[in-house]
């Protein structure tokens, strides 16, 4: 799918929306990113987004920020990447600063603990749901095995860089083999 022509204000607006409505990090927010950029605005297709996500995981720094940079660059070059990153971060930065400046930490740390716990519980479920939706995009029979292998490797402590590289390499070989068998 050829990339849509996207204006800088529209790019900033999209990532402001994402930065305001996405919780729990990039993997928990994949459904939102897809809904906003693929389904609603049609700036890229699902396959292109799926290609960008593992690359974002390999880029140093926060993966969500990396994904914004990748998408912004694909759409509008260096400036687009900077704008996407800034717009993604702006809502959270404003909120964190406001709360840090106005709310006494000692008064709120205990009060926020239960909210934080339930948000973490929600995020765990959102992540598992996102994993299921991602896995459902592919039709390779060995896909479940690959997903499980990557999960176990990461939980066991394998570096994300290695896990992603090995997963993509092994997966490419498996997919190619299945296509040859068919």
């Amino acid at each position: 799918m050829p990339l849509a022509h996207v204006s800088l204000p529209a790019l900033a607006g999209a990532f402001l929306v994402l930065g305001s409505t996405s919780w729990g990090g990039v993997y928990a927010s994949l459904a939102r990113v897809e809904k906003e950029l693929v389904e609603r605005r049609r700036w890229l297709d699902s396959a292109e987004l799926d290609r960008l996500i593992p690359v974002a995981a390999l880029v140093p720094g926060p993966t969500f920020v990396a994904l914004a940079g990748l998408i912004g660059y694909r759409l509008r070059g260096w400036v687009g990447a900077g704008l996407a990153v800034a717009a993604l971060l702006a809502p959270a930065v404003a909120l964190v600063l406001a709360l840090a400046a106005l709310v006494p930490a000692a008064a709120m740390t205990g009060a926020l603990a239960r909210v934080q716990r339930w948000v973490a519980i929600a995020v765990a479920g959102i992540l598992l749901g996102a994993a299921r939706r991602q896995k459902a995009k592919g039709r390779a029979p060995a896909g479940t095995l690959l997903t499980a292998a990557v999960t176990v490797a990461l939980v066991a402590g394998l570096q994300p860089l290695l896990a992603v590289a090995l997963g993509l390499g092994a997966g490419a070989w498996l997919v190619r083999r299945e296509e040859a068998d068919r």
Binding site: L58, V96, L97, G167
Partner: protein, 171 residues
């Protein structure tokens, strides 16, 4: 601590954190909390803010920068953590365009690898919580709602905030 020092700590943290920003948060703890620049309760508070506010979790470092050196410190932390990621993302995007035909076969299994990344992150979030039975059931329910019913996660998080706030109020 000066804004310039904050910037360099975050710059190094960002460059070293491959696979997510949690490495940056660990660097911040080591550089600021263990050395006594930042009180542990302020570190914990900004981490909590990072979790309950939308967007990337790593924006917690902006709060830490604020406590260390006011608004200039917050700005320095923000630029330090996002600058290398922005530059590396642009270079990676250029590389993807240039080597598209070579990378295409490698990217076909991407959904399975991303599913693995998401599942592993779920485990890393859930394990330290030591979930009670009803909390594990909540995780399962949310998984079904998001994974099978495509419920928007915004509503899930809003519900979680309400549950947590209600628990706090009535406990």
């Amino acid at each position: 601590m000066s804004p310039l020092q904050i910037f360099f700590v975050m710059l190094m943290a960002g460059l070293a954190a491959i696979g997510g920003g949690s490495g940056s948060l660990a660097v911040a703890q080591h550089a600021w909390v263990e050395t006594g620049y930042l009180r542990p309760e302020l570190y914990a508070w900004t981490m909590a803010l990072g979790h309950v506010t939308p967007g990337p979790l790593s924006t917690a470092v902006v709060g830490m920068g604020y406590y260390l050196a006011g608004l200039p410190g917050a700005g320095a932390a923000l630029v330090g953590i996002s600058l290398p990621t922005w530059a590396a993302a642009c270079l990676a995007a250029r590389g993807m365009e240039r080597f598209r035909s070579l990378l295409e076969p490698l990217m076909r299994p991407a959904p399975y690898v991303v599913a693995g990344l998401a599942a592993a992150t779920a485990v890393s979030v859930a394990l330290p919580l030591r979930l009670a039975v009803h909390e594990a059931a909540a995780v399962a329910a949310v998984t079904w709602l998001v994974g099978w019913r495509s419920v928007d996660p915004v509503w899930i998080v809003a519900g979680a905030v309400c549950v947590g706030a209600a628990q706090q109020l009535f406990s």
